[in-house]
Amino acid sequence: MNALECRRIQKSFGSVNALCDASLSVRPGEIRAILGGNGSGKSTLAKILGGVVRPNQGEIKLFDKTCSIRSPRHSKRLGIVITSQELSLFTNHTVETNLLMCDIPRSIGVFTNRARVKHVGRQVMDELNLSHLIGKTVAELAANEQYMVEFAKALIQKPKILIVDEITSALYREEVELVKQMLFRLKENGTAVLFISHRMAEIYSICDSVTIMRNGETVATVGIQEKNENELLSMMSGRDVTDVIHSHTGSVATADGPPLLMAPQLRLSRFGTQFDFRVQPGEFVGIAGLQGHGQSDLVRTLFGMRGSVHLKLEGQDLHVSSPRKAVAARMAFISGDREKEGVFSVRSLSENLAAVKELVMGQTGLAADAVLREQGVKFASAKQPIRTLSGGNQQKVVIGRWLVTNPKILLADDPTKGIDVQARLDVHHMLCRLIEKGSSVVFVSSDDEELVQLAHMAPSARILVMYEGKIVRVLTGLDITTENIISASVPRGARFK
């Protein structure tokens, strides 16, 4: 009997296939690791099981009974519990109220039975060595303690199927050990666990088996002792990862001469990490890593969006305290979130194009039609509202907005997210032309392949791989391959906080 069986699950959002063929089956008492890179479909699968999104096709069986999971509420009733990185806690409530939020004990049917809430809460927290947190509100806790409360909340619901989504990355070593013990106890009681993580050491010490996902497909499921780390990574990337050099961290300039931009002791406030960052003139710097490890924070900090930052641009000291200051220093920023941070959707193409050059830098006389044609935008009139264009063409206009200002350095935060292949190539060519003119580009992407392609198009390039807010690897020259990026994104060995 299987606790959970998914057969050929398929899910697409618009034209994007998030899952195209996901199948897996987990026995009661099995701890299964799910391993996959960005966009491999791990979180979509978790969301489907949690009832947040519904699959387009496919069959889900729980304990050999076919179910369609209609809502998060329904999923809970079926015994599926998810602990996720995005905490499901109410920060203004106490720890014990949060623990029992899904099933608050009542007296006379209407009033919260506080004594019982405290009692049950204390029982669970005792097991996790956390009873000192009872009575505090979640907002008062440190991040790792919050994650432990999230985990405890899942335990209290007595899950039949527990999905642990990258929760351990915020925990200390001893806490991970506790989580492991609790998972083993659940295992004895016959709970099936899906353990989503990218920490190899944990996967090897906790899990029985591992399912590897790539591009929305489950490519293989193997026993944990059957494959070593390199073999798992090869299966993740779809290519051979043989002898990966695990050496230096820090910056290696491949272009000579004085740097264009220096950021000494650059601090990422969300992670509390610090490192030196520099960009050479005419260089392409790709920023890689699993999503949410500080890549976006890095470029946004440089652009003055996270408070004042001290930079050296062409040897001159510069304090960038807002995007306005950054623009004045001839920096540019392109966001991948077109709707929220890119387009002025109800305004015309020419207005969108002239936003920086005319209205911020005060230079008039922009020939909108000529520029739009040069950037390969498909349009009828420069006066049409930008929302009438396709996503890719919209993004070309946004990039054009910055190209006409001749920036010294262009920061891009996953700018080709969700645009079609042709538009993506056009964007790459636009950036390459900018680099040829002597500007530098710092480019964050969740698509490792894209970074490798761009690096090979530029005359000088480096790829920095980030993990937990730090630069863990710098790739140059022939080392720039998707395999190397993936293996550096998923650190191996015991690397606990």
Partner: protein, 335 residues
């Protein structure tokens, strides 16, 4: 206005394709208000013959002119987006009326100094609005509502509730006819509309305003000064409100406490009828002016019908509600 109608109709008729013609009719933001005012004019004439004669049209246009001026500031604030709205317009206008009359104190020679003082006070009120909204982070609705009571209190405290002497002839002239139905007020309103139309569409400030209203985050990331631009917009609204109050005194011939409090709601309604989206980023002053004409016509027709005041206000309120429902639906459907 008739010329405008003629132009629009000609443009629409000249389109060969029937379906295209219909879509132009539907997408034209001015057309509903133009049709509405013509229908109301006809209705008024049927109910009370003489409604459509020059004198009455002149009256309607004069009253609409004051509303149109007040709606200029409101349009700009709403275009600035971020739930921008100025609920203090009515209070600022009442203040402009009372303080203006008291500054002038019956002497025509003191008109310029009164104008300068009102500009300064209006700008100060707008600056406080902008500061509260942009730097302190108070929602525009709340901030400008609070300002309403602050400004009302200030007005009462300054004038001690006393009426303020005679209004000089120069100011009363705004209500006098020039030729046919055209009065000085109308000329003044058109001049103000043209001036601010140029400011909105041709200057760098105006272009920034539209972009900020369309997408604040994108504007910030483009290096556009969002706080400064929005604050200036509230200041403009304050200045226009104060001066509109002075013009109102010229038209009515006397100043009373809270005489213009209705203008807050009316100015917002005029802006919405004129096709300006409450979401920000789009909008025209011509639309607001047409909206002002529709609203004034509506009131006149209701008066002509001879409804008692309570029923009239009820009908007016319900009509505004209907109009707002009809116009606010479009953007939500689009999302």
């Amino acid at each position: 206005m008739f010329k405008l109608v003629e132009q629009q109709v000609k443009r629409i008729i000249s389109v060969p394709n029937k379906r295209l013609r219909w879509s132009i009719v539907r997408n034209n933001v001015y057309l509903p208000s133009v049709i509405a005012s013509l229908v109301l004019l006809g209705l008024g004439q049927v109910i009370s013959p003489g409604f459509a004669d020059f004198n009455n049209i002149g009256n309607i246009l004069a009253v609409a002119s004051i509303l149109a001026i007040a709606a200029v500031g409101q349009t700009m604030v709403i275009v600035s987006g971020g739930e921008g709205i100025d609920l203090s317009v009515g209070a600022v206008m009442s203040m402009g009326a009372l303080l203006g009359a008291s500054f002038i104190h019956g002497e025509a020679s003191r008109l310029p100094i009164a104008v300068v003082l009102l500009v300064l006070i209006g700008a100060a009120i707008g600056y406080i609005n902008g500061f509260g909204i942009q730097w302190v982070g108070i929602p525009p609705l709340v901030m400008t509502l609070i300002m309403t009571s602050v400004v009302n209190g200030f007005t009462v405290a300054y004038t001690k509730g006393q009426p303020s002497g005679a209004i000089p002839k120069v100011l009363l002239a705004v209500g006098q006819p020039i030729v046919g139905p055209i009065r000085w007020l109308l000329v003044l309103a058109i001049a103000i509309l043209v001036a601010f139309g140029i400011i909105m569409n041709k200057t760098s400030y105006g272009k920034r305003l539209f972009l900020i209203g369309s997408n604040r985050n994108a504007a910030l990331l483009s290096g556009i000064s969002v706080r400064g631009t929005v604050t200036v917009t509230y200041m403009i609204s304050g200045v226009i409100g104060a001066l509109a109050g002075l013009i109102l005194v010229g038209y009515t011939g006397n100043a009373q406490l809270q005489m213009a409090s209705d203008y807050t709601l009316l100015s917002i309604a005029a802006v919405v009828i004129g096709g300006t989206k409450l979401a920000g980023g789009e909008g025209t002053l011509v639309g607001a002016a047409l909206g002002a004409i529709v609203l004034t016509m509506l009131t006149s027709v209701l008066v002509a019908v001879g409804l008692p005041q309570g029923v009239r206000e009820l009908v007016q309120g319900l009509t505004l509600l209907l109009i707002l429902v009809a116009y606010s639906r479009a953007p939500r459907l689009r999302q």
